[in-house]
């Protein structure tokens, strides 16, 4: 029987992005999620872990990134937690505004929201930020 929940604790370095994506793919395959879910989850996991490593934990290798993958039956649920100072997601500039189009960064949140069905940020009770994302097996989104 396939495992329904997987937890990872990774070091705050860029290599962890690839590691998390590979683990997500294995989890999706063992839980029979389709290509559309795998592709969306791959992109969202990479963006969320990159954000946690770079912006949350600021590449401090003493801080970890905690990740969970869960098969919720009709959806793949992901949480990614960092141990940084946190941020207000509504204050992140919209990268599609004309004045931000030529900025080199700031598109990760847009990608996560575009590929996943639900994305929600919150402050963890014991510090750091946690992002929870859901991708349904049957989705009307194109990605």
């Amino acid at each position: 029987m396939s495992e329904k929940r997987r937890e990872l604790k990774l070091t705050s370095r860029l290599e962890s992005v690839e590691q998390a994506a590979a683990e997500a793919e294995r989890f999706a395959e063992s839980n029979d999620f389709g290509e559309d879910v795998k592709s969306a989850v791959d992109m969202a996991v990479r963006e969320a872990v990159a954000n946690a490593v770079k912006h949350g934990n600021k590449l401090d290798e003493t801080k970890r990134v905690e990740i969970t993958f869960e098969n919720r039956g009709e959806a793949f649920e992901i949480t990614v937690r960092d141990f940084g100072a946190g941020f207000a997601v509504e204050e992140v500039p919209d990268p599609t505004n004309p004045e931000n189009l030529l900025k080199a960064s700031g598109r990760g949140i847009l990608f996560m929201r575009s590929f996943m069905d639900e994305v929600e940020w919150s402050n963890h009770a014991e510090g750091g930020m946690i992002v929870k994302m859901l991708k349904k097996r049957e989705s009307n989104l194109d990605f």
Binding site: V17, E47, L101, L102, A104, L110, F111, S114
Partner: protein, 115 residues
Amino acid sequence: MAELNISERQAGDITILDMDGKVTIGEGSVALRTTIRRLLGEGKKKILLNLGRVGYVDSSGIGELVSSFTAVNKEDGSLKLLNLTQKIQDLLAITKLLTVFDVYENEGEALSSFK
């Protein structure tokens, strides 16, 4: 194997970069940045990025494409994109960058557009 391999060709004063691999946070993005800086240092300011064999780009890679575009523009040069995969086209549409980049499906047409 490197995340991103970049081969260079010259068509007159236009430099074509055939990119193969991933443009993602870390190695892939750095490889593109280093190549663009070197070309600008050599005075090569007409650059065509062939993305036909780029299977994966993340937000960091899209950011690197934008940085390359602005760096080349700052030197009064021109950077254009060739052979976008469907996935990259989708990412450029989401980010509204299809309105920023000059995009071509045919190399001949892309090269003519620099003149």
